[in-house]
Symmetry: C2
Subunit: 622 residues, 2 copies
Amino acid sequence: MEVTRKNFKESLNAIYSAIEEADFLAIDGEFSGISDGPSVSSLTNGLDTPEERYQKLKKHSMDFLLFQFGLCTFKYDQSASEYLTKSFNFYIFPKPFSRNSPDIKFVCQSSSIDFLANQGFDFNKVFCNGIPYLNQEEESQLREQFEERRSQSNGSQSFISPSSCKGPINVPDEQKDFVNKVVVSAFLNNALSCSFQRKLIYQTLNWNCHIFCLIFTALQKLLSWLFQKERYILISKVDDDERKRREQEKQEKEQGELNDAVGFSRVIHAVSKSGKLVIGHNMLLDVMHTIHQFYCPLPQELIDFKEVTMCVFPRLLDTKLMASTQPFKELITNTSLAELEKQLKESPFKPLKVESAEGFPRYDTATEQLHEAGYDAYITGLCFISMANYLGTFLTPPRAHISARSKLIEPFFNKLYLMRIIDIPYLNISGPDLQPKRDHVLYVTFPKEWKTSDLYQLFSAFGNIQVSWIDDTSAFVCLSQTDQVQIAVNTSRYAESYRIQTYAEYMENRQDKQTCRRWTESGWTKSPYSTSPAVSSYGYSNNKTPAERRNMSPIQEEQASDGMEEPEDDGDAPGSARPQPEAPAAAATQGKSRKHKRKAQGELPPYGQPLSPSRVQAALSI
Amino acid sequence: MEVTRKNFKESLNAIYSAIEEADFLAIDGEFSGISDGPSVSSLTNGLDTPEERYQKLKKHSMDFLLFQFGLCTFKYDQSASEYLTKSFNFYIFPKPFSRNSPDIKFVCQSSSIDFLANQGFDFNKVFCNGIPYLNQEEESQLREQFEERRSQSNGSQSFISPSSCKGPINVPDEQKDFVNKVVVSAFLNNALSCSFQRKLIYQTLNWNCHIFCLIFTALQKLLSWLFQKERYILISKVDDDERKRREQEKQEKEQGELNDAVGFSRVIHAVSKSGKLVIGHNMLLDVMHTIHQFYCPLPQELIDFKEVTMCVFPRLLDTKLMASTQPFKELITNTSLAELEKQLKESPFKPLKVESAEGFPRYDTATEQLHEAGYDAYITGLCFISMANYLGTFLTPPRAHISARSKLIEPFFNKLYLMRIIDIPYLNISGPDLQPKRDHVLYVTFPKEWKTSDLYQLFSAFGNIQVSWIDDTSAFVCLSQTDQVQIAVNTSRYAESYRIQTYAEYMENRQDKQTCRRWTESGWTKSPYSTSPAVSSYGYSNNKTPAERRNMSPIQEEQASDGMEEPEDDGDAPGSARPQPEAPAAAATQGKSRKHKRKAQGELPPYGQPLSPSRVQAALSI
């Protein structure tokens, strides 16, 4: 169901009840851009720490607008053994609701806009009919103003708002008689008797606009003086019932306006309050944007972001992470959403029984509508069901249907896929992150003329290496043998053009330890999932030893992704923004961009094999 | 005529000939936003210097996208005594033309987007079918790459591009025989005989992607070595005619791709090369955006911006400035484009004979299509014709038609309207700017709690004052009597909470003198227009003495604009972005935004009377 500003109000009850009755929810967002930094590759270093990645995404991605939000609810019908889905595709735009409302500026990235345009995205629906929204602070400000006005008018009708007086002004019953004696004439006499105000009013007698401004100042001062002395003013007095009726009408109208302004945020609040499992595909950016846009500016520190996320979405599941983990990683060669959906239609996965609920249009996965957020949310949900049901085949006796409440899927809760980090597959939202040893990693600085090939040459004596560019003059180099690290560092001691440090030295310099210590203090050091029986049964086992993995060259790992024909655009990284391996002929003619391209190649992670043995070890050892 | 990416190429000849045959051109731009600063009022202080205003616009307005460009050409048909118009409405979008092209990020301001959406603006046309463009630097980079490739292939077919070799590689005739002897096998043998490269290739034998990258490095090194020794390589040799044919085909294709990428910039280049008079309404932002987007990033200094502008647009005319100047300012109460167009249909202005050229759709001014750039350009041209013809009534004998080449309009050339500056009506593009004395102006700093009313109170002994807010803790205060300035400064000497400086002291501290000195050095101190007979005949006369003006209170001046019902949205300042005087009731209930609103009111200039007597004096005295 398409939801714009035009049908939002009338659709709200349907949305609320869909969320209420659902077994789980799937979401997806479309954004006006991905990275306002120099390039996506600078956003994703293969050896980022989770903290670094969070900071980069926060800095370079939050100025874009989440302008389409897909929500698909899934309800299991036991009797028919099928899922009923209700899919909503929301268009979102921060239309200023009044002259005082914030005038939001957002960035658009032409590659992302062009990508969406090619997918038939309807920008007019966003900009002309997008549903407005407020974050929590904007909402409370508006609510406060509304409460203030209500309290002020409650008991004292037609009162000129003394906006300099903080808090509501309630006239106590025992004071009302006294208040009634104070009338407008006395009030104005009072005002005029004050020579300062009289002079001001006299001066400005012919002034058209400023006169109001000045009289208000005078009135304010007088009012605050009166209030200090516990005196109260009623300028006009109307029939009590009539007054109450008018008041109620006005309040209802204002409450309506407030709700309209909160707009789409109400949907997110409902999702949050439901506490239901929320599924997404490669969903870190979706979660960050959702919190940033509808709750609050993202916290400075990753640990605080995790806390906020757990408040907003107590249970998350990322299908890209699930598909990249045992037992699925052996079965799935390409984890991009569209490819994953296709592969999950084949054996050993079972066909699904999923129907659109009455009154909801049916999505046809044969005629793809990729990158419409509602459709992407729908197929994300399908992927989850396929994979969850597959886990049921491991049980004795096997079960065909695995519910969203099953213990079997708990190991995947609150772990969000981390794009292109070599040895940390996910961000652990409800606990500390994996801390892989990285004792085979070197931090190398060099002149800005250096290319990847120079690094390969420098380390040619050390066997296969893997290069992750940080910026123009530095990179991480992973050696295949940890015991060679010290040799490399020692060898470089007298080098003039470059400098080599161990990863530990590098981290020490960055003083990143503070964040780690915070984890310990808050008692999150013990993973809630490490002892889960589900983990050992299928979750984190791997046949390759770390040594075997380290003997793979980066290119061997890259080959694993060669079958991938499309760029891996999971809705959060559309189109040309993502560097792709290029054909040699193109590389030869595009000399100017060669260096950049090589960097991008150098840091591409092994697609389809994000869980390396060393990572799994780390996961099991926590 | 609507022009998008789809019909751009086929329309180009029509556009070129329309520009070529025109007597003058009118332009207008629509942007994705106006100010990314905190508010428009912070962008426009009533006592900005032209330098300050330029810096502010450059800093806070250039990240927006000019995404619709209107061009209307006007050709006078002597025999029919009528103008023939050709109007073009271009949709513009920086679609990346290849994977290496710049990925432009631009900002959208929700109030501006909402404003355009309400006007029926078609965002899909912009984002899906917008015409691409390049600025000068991007174009030359692309052209250079293209030339490089052409030179490389010229004479040496199928050559692997040695991208590290700068400049074209031409094989001299006398060397060709020698070159022909060097064949691929020898070449590769050579490469492999070099142990360094062999080792590299060996190491990477199983690597799928990096092998190319590495072989290229090896080849490059070898090639540069060969070239140093004046040896040349031809890998394959084909029939000469066939080679030339292929080469030409390839070059034509590349030239076509280059032209496609330059896209809309070609239209602006044609306008520029024509040297024709270019008319706009309140056109400073249009000119800045046009130069920024299609030529080069705006220069740091205003004086350099003026120089660039004169190169791109040698003759400009701003109808808002024209309408705000004698003799029109007495006749025109509201200079916003839509109102101006209406007023110029009434007496004493004469009806126009204007027809759309064959094949061009006719705009009907009765059914307004305001804020479609093509329409706005069209009525801007109409306004110019009406006002120009009116000047003809001053001649003896009077003339009904005044051409775009007439001396009568020259005084208006290259003066761009400056929004809301009290005493400098325009930016003088082809000369030094007016330097009004401002010896009645004080610079006041105070605690951030102060409001406009506090300043009125502070200066209550000094008669009428005018306040122009700079930021939260400072403002300019204009006194009515210059001789009171020193009294005010002296009085404040022992004040603790605030501080008063003369304008001269303030400017001295800001060390703005450097820029002024540059003007003198470049010999622009003498205005080319001050002695123009046209000026004294009708241009800059005024009945009010400076003293009379100074006795006007700011509110009296503001009243002059009360007749203005619409916000003054000239296409460059749409919607709610512009502060408007607010009704007193609203002010009373909107306590939170009161301070800001007052500031906005305080700095509103006298609409419809931008040329104050003091300014005219200044204009005449230069």
